[in-house]
Subunit: 294 residues, 4 copies
């Protein structure tokens, strides 16, 4: 079990008469990721609205803020128990056997136009063994072909753009990997959170975007950007792509400062400290619960 | 109450060693759209898998079919009770008051890049009264600016393309209207089904794509293509856009013939026949149930 | 020397009150491609306007046609003397040494967005020897990765689309090869004409689009689609891409029938018949004349 | 006659082993724009290569520079004699009557996809009188619908993007106006240079991109961005779009500093000072010479 303690501070200046925010900054609370303590601080006197999406365990925080400055702080301690599997045991699930709720993650989305990449993906990955190693091959392909370059993309950049231009940031790596997985019928989703152990050469600790792929009976973690340690991911939100799972979606005229984030691995109640490390094992923070289907 | 009786026949030839299908051809079964009788016929001996998405009432039919010919027939009789409201009473719901499950329909999707249309939509529709009449203005704008032309678009065509090229089929009209609604923060979703009263000058009865917009406390019906009568819509599936709610998503090499569809309005148990007509009233087939939020 | 005799028949029905046409259906008349005989027939009584673009030797035919049917026929006999070079002797020309008139063929164009493909092309082809063999490697890459499929693209399809979707017709193969050449600073242009020896399995003889690349001191012939024999190309027009060199650009409402084209290799004045064949030699129909620069 | 004196200083740091540059920073030398004095300074000991494109009078400067710093300075004094016409006398030229060399400016290009905007442009501008006033209507439409915002676009941004997103810099305004003109069969081209009288609220004096449209017998000046005074334009290069006429096209790894530009209106040899002002007259700096056609 990994215990991570972190804090996030977001600073905005709202120029309009008021703005709405949808935040995904709460750690998802699941059997595999227990939120031991958490604290939310909002500088304006507001009634925050929380919405739990039971399908993904994402906790949406909605605020209707006034003009002026707004500071949102969140800090938590989470205990993450990873489900760890040998890669060789982990096969893909054929379409007819997928849980119904997983089907939408086969379909193209705003930033992951898997429909357009079908021939490409089949030629490149179609003949590989259909399991964890094929997903690794896709991850490695993305990591090899795309260069990480801060500020090289914008909110309009999609997987097709990244495939063509071969440059991007973590969210672009994630979008391209997701699109390629879906193009060969492997369900894949976008995840955001923060991570312990990020490569600080790329800048201060920031939110991170990564990928979860459905294999066997649950969602497994992948980091196509190669800048982080999957064992150190704290999951906040998941969705089809960044359109669903941005850490903040803002409606109205707002000036945002860069987030201030800190994270550390701490000892558990028995004084035992586990620090996230890279591993060859397949890791999941999904407990395999699925909504019952009819 | 409108009672509609219809049948659908789909013919495929599967060239590969086998193919997977996800169909959305079952009438959604809801308090407002009662499925009185229905019958599914599949020419191959297969075990069909049904999945009900409780959030949208969409019923997914999955088949893993063998090589050779496949015929899928579905026929049903449905009773549709429309919730009818005076347009002047129907306001938009501000972001902070939307049911949580409706939030995703504010976000951009594969074919509805509302993020890119924000300035356009605000300039064109930003100053209108925020209610049903604004949505009608968006619908009318789409209907006026886009020409209906069979085979003028393909599976890659998105709202941005349709805004630029001003030509398309019903699905393109729907995508553009949805993108424009979301761009001014009005939740909108894509619906597919069949419809009584389609303009037969445009070809034989076919599946139809239309739009549902969230106003007041529920989803209301709109037909941006102007080729159909909303009161005659039988809803099958809803989703973000056509990526979610295509009547058939096919995995594998398949030759498809055009669907054969017939529909008629019939008398109810008391011998009373209601034929769908155009109306100035706002119509919904949503009963306003929302999943409980936390 | 190859002597080719061919005829083209184009049939239109002009529904508007009249339409303008710009045709590129005349064989370019150059020292290497002598037009021995030619005949133009126009069914309407019109004064055709011919414009010779001296930079490319393209002969534009402009017609202002009346409503009703229009038939345009052109037949010619051309003697093509190929400049043939051993591939190993043929190097690329560095930017600073290119003839000034060749510079524009380094720049991106409507259908060849070489600017976007820079990183891709450098990674894939950047380390190869800079000469004919690198261009062959690009041609082969395109031929291997793209599938030929009639009607799989439209007038909006560009090199970026073809790179993503990996399917197209001869014009798409040409656009992608051109874009990749320019992306590694090799001047490349689009050529249209007809060809002796086309693969008839792909349909009746039609116009053909191919590529000319500037190497050494002139433009050399390449056929990325792999469906034709470069020695059998009759050049009509060249340009940046299909926007410049379409065989017909039509302004107004016109219904067009498929062109009817025939071509044969015939004996020269001495009774000697040379039939186009595939060759390992580098072939050019450019005589190396360049406009003087200042 | 307007006499303008200006200087340009460009600073680069070349990190690679050497880089090639193609500059368009020389004032075009034409009967209407006489270059009275000019001086080019290059900090490295290089042999600059000048190429004059006789079709457009653009003077290309090519440099093959070494690693290290490179400073390029250019200063000149030009006398501009404007051809001034009453707008009401200035009609469009029908396709069949256009000079042959003007035809390419009807075709779509990298950043001006006029083919896609045909229906839009015809609906919006198709019924206007076909002359100078229609071009003004297009210019005004662009100026009204697009917001000027520094750094809001990048080198991939095209007219289609600007039409959708309604934001850009002077080059984006120019691309959209050009695309809309071509979409209704009006030849339009991209021009770059510097300008006297730029709106300094938008930043220090910089290169400017504007539009020339072919009306009557020559090219007329338009400024869709609305940030400058056309009478104060010094023309450097013209082309299909920014792909042809960028002030600098750079091949290789180079760091560029912002250009330093100054410009002033000075008195002519008789002590007479004409300062550029806005005018209702149609202005051209084209002398109406056309290459002879065959």
């Amino acid at each position: 079990m990994v215990r991570l303690k972190f804090s996030i501070e977001l600073n905005y200046y709202i120029s309009a008469s008021g703005s709405d925010f949808v935040f995904n900054i709460h750690a998802a609370h699941t059997p595999q990721q227990l939120v031991k303590t958490e604290n939310l601080h909002i500088s304006q006197k507001l009634v925050p609205d929380m919405y739990l999406d039971s399908a993904t365990d994402t906790r949406f925080l909605r605020l209707k803020a006034f003009a002026g400055s707004l500071q949102v702080g969140y800090e938590a301690t989470v205990d993450i128990t990873h489900h760890s599997v040998s890669p060789t045991e982990l096969g893909e699930v054929w379409i007819s056997n997928l849980p119904g709720a997983v089907l939408p993650y086969l379909y193209p989305s705003r930033y992951c136009q898997s429909d357009r990449l079908h021939k490409f993906a089949v030629r490149e990955f179609g003949n590989l063994w259909q399991g964890y190693s094929r997903v690794l091959a896709i991850r490695d392909w993305v990591q090899t072909h795309v260069s990480f370059k801060p500020s090289s993309s914008n909110s309009n950049t999609s997987a097709v753009d990244t495939l063509i231009e071969e440059v991007g940031v973590c969210r672009d790596f994630a979008h391209l990997m997701i699109a390629l997985c879906r193009a060969v019928n492997i369900p894949a989703r976008f995840a955001t959170g923060i991570d312990y152990g990020a490569d600080l050469a790329l800048g201060p600790t920031d939110f991170h975007a990564y990928v979860e792929v459905f294999l066997g009976d649950r969602w497994f973690l992948f980091d196509p950007s190669g800048t982080a340690i999957p064992m150190g991911f704290v999951r906040f939100a998941t969705g089809r792509d960044a359109a669903d799972a941005a850490f903040a979606t803002i409606f109205g005229g707002v000036h945002a400062s860069p987030p201030v984030i800190s994270i550390e691995a701490i000892a558990d109640d028995h004084g035992h400290l586990v620090v996230p490390v890279h591993t060859k094992q397949a890791l999941s923070t999904d407990d395999g619960r699925r909504p019952a289907t009819t």
